[in-house]
Symmetry: none
Subunit: 416 residues, 2 copies
Amino acid sequence: MKIGILTIGNELMNGRTADTNSSFIAREANQQGWVVEAIMSVCDGLTAIKNRLDYLLSMSDAVICSGGLGPTADDITTEAIAKAFSLPLYTDENVLNYIRDIFTQFNLRWVENNAKQAMFPKGAQVLPNVRGTAPGFSLSINGKMVFAIPGVPAEAKLMVTDSVIPALRKHFPQDELYIVKQTIKTFGLSEAAVDDKVKDINFNSLGVNIGFYPVFPENHIVLIARGKNQNEAQKNLQKAQDEISARLQDYIFAYGEETLEGVIAGLLTEKKLTIAVAESCTGGMITNRLTDVSGSSDYLERGLVTYSNIAKISMLGVPAEIIEKHGAVSEETVRLMAEGLRKLAGTDLGLASTGIAGPTGGSPEKPVGTVYLAVADSRQTACRHYAYRWDRQRNKEVFSEAALFLLKNFLEGKFS
Amino acid sequence: MKIGILTIGNELMNGRTADTNSSFIAREANQQGWVVEAIMSVCDGLTAIKNRLDYLLSMSDAVICSGGLGPTADDITTEAIAKAFSLPLYTDENVLNYIRDIFTQFNLRWVENNAKQAMFPKGAQVLPNVRGTAPGFSLSINGKMVFAIPGVPAEAKLMVTDSVIPALRKHFPQDELYIVKQTIKTFGLSEAAVDDKVKDINFNSLGVNIGFYPVFPENHIVLIARGKNQNEAQKNLQKAQDEISARLQDYIFAYGEETLEGVIAGLLTEKKLTIAVAESCTGGMITNRLTDVSGSSDYLERGLVTYSNIAKISMLGVPAEIIEKHGAVSEETVRLMAEGLRKLAGTDLGLASTGIAGPTGGSPEKPVGTVYLAVADSRQTACRHYAYRWDRQRNKEVFSEAALFLLKNFLEGKFS
């Protein structure tokens, strides 16, 4: 099957927003074994949208349009699609009530132009939007299909996987090809190094496609296995995954939808351990990631951002002379931060970071990008030292990832 | 002038690579006052490239093609463009020697297919590539222009600013149109409500375009003003900005590249104030945002994530009976968190959050999405209570934004 993708919005045409929906949709289509014939972006203009849609339909079995479904005057995708196929617009009362309910719930003032989001071309199937107010819709036109989905990436992605792909599979019944996917998440190797470690595996003979996706500071591997039935596809996938796991075991921290903080949550809960975090250079990012997991209050007793030396001394019990002698950014300091913290917080574990995120504060001995990390329990303290060379934001991200990665390995007994 | 953009590569069509060149080229073109008429992506296929190029040329004065200039077999952009205009290919000996020199310099083994990068359609102007081996080229076709530039973003960007834009300006002498832009960042109103508040302004008569861009949980307004010279464009922009500022003054927190945490950094530095942060439901996100600003260690003394009641009692001095009586999520508790924190930390200001990010922990009286915020100095404490209804991640984001927004207003004396 051939797919066309049309992303709609003035913000794409003036370069204010980079189009990330296209590559997401293309990847999803590709994983179904479909061919993306063309990707286009167009401004919020009635004639322009209609013309581009005609062009894409001339070469595709289905066109997925993203963007321009919002309440403001420049959102005209629905109207443009209706015009393109000479369909009248109608208001779906159920959708209108749903949107009104959201406004009531959120205590927002109702503005009449929001009602526009409940209008659809005649014959459209409404696609629910659980993450926003603007639903999508699909139309069947002379055997071809046209979809309209929101431009907001989080809303668009969910609608593609939950509504668009299933609708397309139903409308264009597939041959018996069955597809299963797996994501393998790694940290600590460059993309090229990950590639190099697995390149001897004959993925083709396993009926598996492999893709590499850097998601800074992580590198993800996506496996797509095909088979005549679910069982065969699953078996092929498992073989490929086992081969990769054997080669990358020191770098893999999660599979599928799991996150590093989610894996840590599972380990802490399983082992019934509590933790406290003391951050310097990471500025709250480690704690913020840990608290992204629902239920983290069960094991996270406290998080401290001890930016100043005084905070390190008074809140963590790091002796002033240690900071004086070795510096705030040192293995000695980070070790005592982690050990002091867990004693003062009364937790099983203490996790600490100290370093230089930049752009200022570096020195020849300790350049920007230097970080010291430590995890302590009652028996031992594990310390690590890394030197990265990113900007402030990315340094904070890679420091935090390295800290959580160290914590995961510690919890798995890799330092015992 | 009308511009078409064509990005070329199988990696774009299967979603493995997101196209970032298009938005960069679009932004550069937009800043010249040119209109980007269409953006397309296409696979590495001779006929497909030729067809898309024809389509784009039918609506544009110039088409910029990116990608497919490399040495491997799938790089066929040069050949496709030559075919599209029935031009023979020739080898440019100077370019060939330049590429050979690079291989010698870097001690790389010469492979014959590299010579492909020195081939151009007859009549092409070579565009130098100082960051890679593949040069670009331009062609003038019946008064229109076609450019081919590399796909590697760093190479493409430099070639656009250094070669493509100057060549286009020379080929299409401009009218005197001058363009200036401004971004106005708001928080606290829905996109529709922002639109509603400014819809009576006659932007057209001011020569200004307005666009609305939700950047959760903020809503941004972008103004693009045109004029015969910089002065006129600037005057038009200022008029529109003044009109908007008057209507949205309670919601605007920053202009242009400024961020909320950056504005706060400026206010704290100017007033020579120090701050400490105590977070419950925001889990470190407020502190993490404050520390995204370089130099934040000058005013941020400490940040605490006091998830447990014990942490609130021991580290902030909130009396146990207050938490017992009113609950950890209450105005009484958040007020005492902020006040206790600033005393214990010895800072000028204390900022505190407590609430329920979800998905669990809600009750009929205090549902998921409830948040209490407080800022305290030596003279007063300002508290706010909000009820949002997002998922955990978005609740954390909107809670943090509301806390920083409250802090900004406090620093600006809006509660004095």
